[in-house]
Amino acid sequence: MATKSRDATSLGATTPVMSVDLIRQVPDGVPAKELTYQEAIREALREEMQRDENVFLMGEDIGKHGGAFGVTRTLFDQFGPERVRNTPISENTIVGAATGAAIVGMRPVIEIMFVDFSGLAMDQICTQAAKLRFMTGGQCKVPWVLRMPQGGGAGKSTAAQHSQSLEAWYAHTPGLKVVLPSTPYDAKGLMKAAIRDDNPVIFLEQKFLYSFRGLVPEGEYVLPLSQCDVKRQGMDVTVVTSGYMVWHAMLAAQILQKQDIDVEVIDVRTIAPLDEETIGKSARKTGRVVLVTEACRDYGPANEWGMVVMEHAFEYLKAPVTRLTGRHSPIPFANSIENGVWPDTQAVVQACKDVMAW
C-alpha cells in the first residue's frame, strides 16, 4: 500500500481560535508581558538599534507608514529617516546595497514587502551575498538580516503573488541562514540573534501570525539560531513543522491528547542550517513522524526534514513519514478554493491518527 502524501485540498480549512496558552515559553516566575508577534519583532529591532548604532533599517515605505504590515511603525519617529530609510522600488538593489553596507561594517536590517517579490532579488541574495565570503576566501563577511513577510491564512490572503511560502529557495543556498519564528517569544529572541549574527540571515515572518499574542520576558534575551525548539513533548507521534503551522500542530496535539495520542511538536524555527539532531532524536523516540508545512508540496521544505528522519531514525520508524503540505498550486483569490490551500488543525489531527493507525 502506498501512503499518499496529502495536500490540504480535500480538507476544508477551519480558522482556529488560537489561545495564548497553547504555547507557553516563559518559565513561571520570570517577569513577562504579553506582546503580539508584530510587537515582538518591533521591540527586537528597537533594542538592537539602541544597542548598536551600526544597525539600521532599509526598505519600501518602512518610515512613517511603518511598512506594509506596520512592523516598523514608531521606529521612524524614534530613529529618524537615516536609520529607518525608505527606498525606491528596487528590491535587488536594496539587498545589494545592504551587502555593500554590511561589508564595510554596518548591520542592515532590510525588508522586502512580501516574500513573493524576492524573486527580483534572488541574484543579490543567493548568488552574491550568500557566496561573497566564500568567493573572497574570507576577506569579508555580510552581516545583514532580510525581513520578508510570507505565507497566508485562510480568507486572509491575496492570491498568487502575495501569499507564498518560499523558505525552500533560500534554505537550499549555502551561506544563508533562514529563520521562521512561530511565536512572539521566538520572533523577538531570534531577531536579536539574527541581527548579531555575522552572516546573511533570511528572516521570514508569517503574516497571519502578526496579530498573535504571547508572553515575552520583560528582560533582555537572545535565542540561539540553528536549533529546533520542542514546543511540546510527546511519546506517540512527532510533528515536525514551522511558522503558523506550529499553532495548528499544538491545537491538534491538544485535541489528540483527549484521544490518548501523545504528540511531540518540533518547531523548526531555524530552517537552515538545520538542527538534525533534535528531529532525529524525537523520531527515534516516537517512531512516527508527520511533517507539516505551509509551502507547496513538490520539492518543498518538508522533504529535508523527512530525509533527516530517514537518515537518523530509519530502523525506528513504525510508519512512513507523512507529508502534510500546502497545495501544489499557485494560490487562488476566491475563498472557496483558497480554502484548503494550507493544512489546518483538522488535517494535522487526521494525519497523526493515520500514522498511529498505520
Binding site: T9, A160, F333
Partner: protein, 319 residues
Amino acid sequence: MEIDRETLLEMYRRMVRIREFELAAMDLFKRGQVKGAIHTYIGQEASGVGVCLALRTDDLIAGTHRSHGHNIAKGADTKKMMAEILGKETGYCKGRGGSMHIAAFETGSLGALAVVGSGIPLAVGAALAFKMRGEDRVTVPFTGEAGSNTGNWHEGLNMAAVWDLPVVFVLENNHYGVSTNIEDVIKVKDLSQRAVAYGIPGVRVDGFDVVAVYQAARQAVDRARRGEGPTLLVTESYRFEGHYAGEPEVYRSRAEVEEYRKKDPIPRFRDALMGEGRVEPIELDSIDNEIRQEIADAVEFARQSPEPDPSTAMDYIYA
C-alpha cells in the same frame, strides 16, 4: 486633432464608469464583502481613458495592481469585473485573480501583474511578436511613477528602443508609491526625461485632461503603429484615495488631497463639454444614470454569482 462627438461622449462615459465602479467597489470593501486589498483609480480616470480610447481592441495593455480603471477604459464588462473582485467563477479570471490580477483578455489585455514593473517585459515581448509577424498592433504597459525605478522598467524601455518595437510606455505619475512621495525616490523633475537614456521620445501631459491625454496617446500610438518605435508617455495626475481602500494616509495632508480634488477630471471634462455647447447637460445626466444602473446591476450580478467549485481548485495550473 479634431475629436468627434461620439468619442468625446465615450470618454465621459468611461470615466464615469470607472469612477462609479470604484466607488461601488470601495463600498463593498468597507462592508467587508471584498477580501484582500483594492487599489482604486479614482482621480486618474482621464489617464487610462485617454490612452485606451487611442487604442484598438486588438491592441494590448499590461496592467498592474491598480488596473480596474485600465480594464474598464479598454472596454471591459463591469459585470465580469465586479464578479472578479468578489472572487466569483463568473469573473474575468474565474475568481482566481481578484482585484490585483483583474484582466479582460477579450478586450485586449496581457494580464495584470501585481509585482511593480513586471508587466513591462510582457508588453515588450508581445510587441516583438507583432513586429515579427508584420501585424500593426501596439502594446501599452501601464506603470506608476515609482515603477520607473525598477530594473524591469529600464530593461524594457531599452529593449523596445533598440528593436523599434510598437510599445507606448505609459507612466502614470500620481505622486506617490504607497506612502513615498516621488521627490524622495526620483531626482529628475520631469519624468519624460527618462526617455533620453533610450533615445526615444518622451512626452508629458496633464493626466487630469482626458483630451490632452488622448491626443498625446494618439500620436504615440500612431507612431508605434507606423513602425517608428516606442514612446514614453507620462501622465501627471493624483491618487484621490489611499494607496488601497482603508489605507491611513499618514504621509500626506488632507489639504494636499483637497487641492488636487479640485482638479477632478470628470467635472472638469463635463464643464468643458457643456462649455463648448456641443453637449447638453441632459445627455451627460442620462449617461450618469445609465452608468449608475449598470454598476448596480454589476454588483447584483457579482453577488448572485457562484464562487469557484472546490472540485476545480487544480484547474488552469497547466495548459
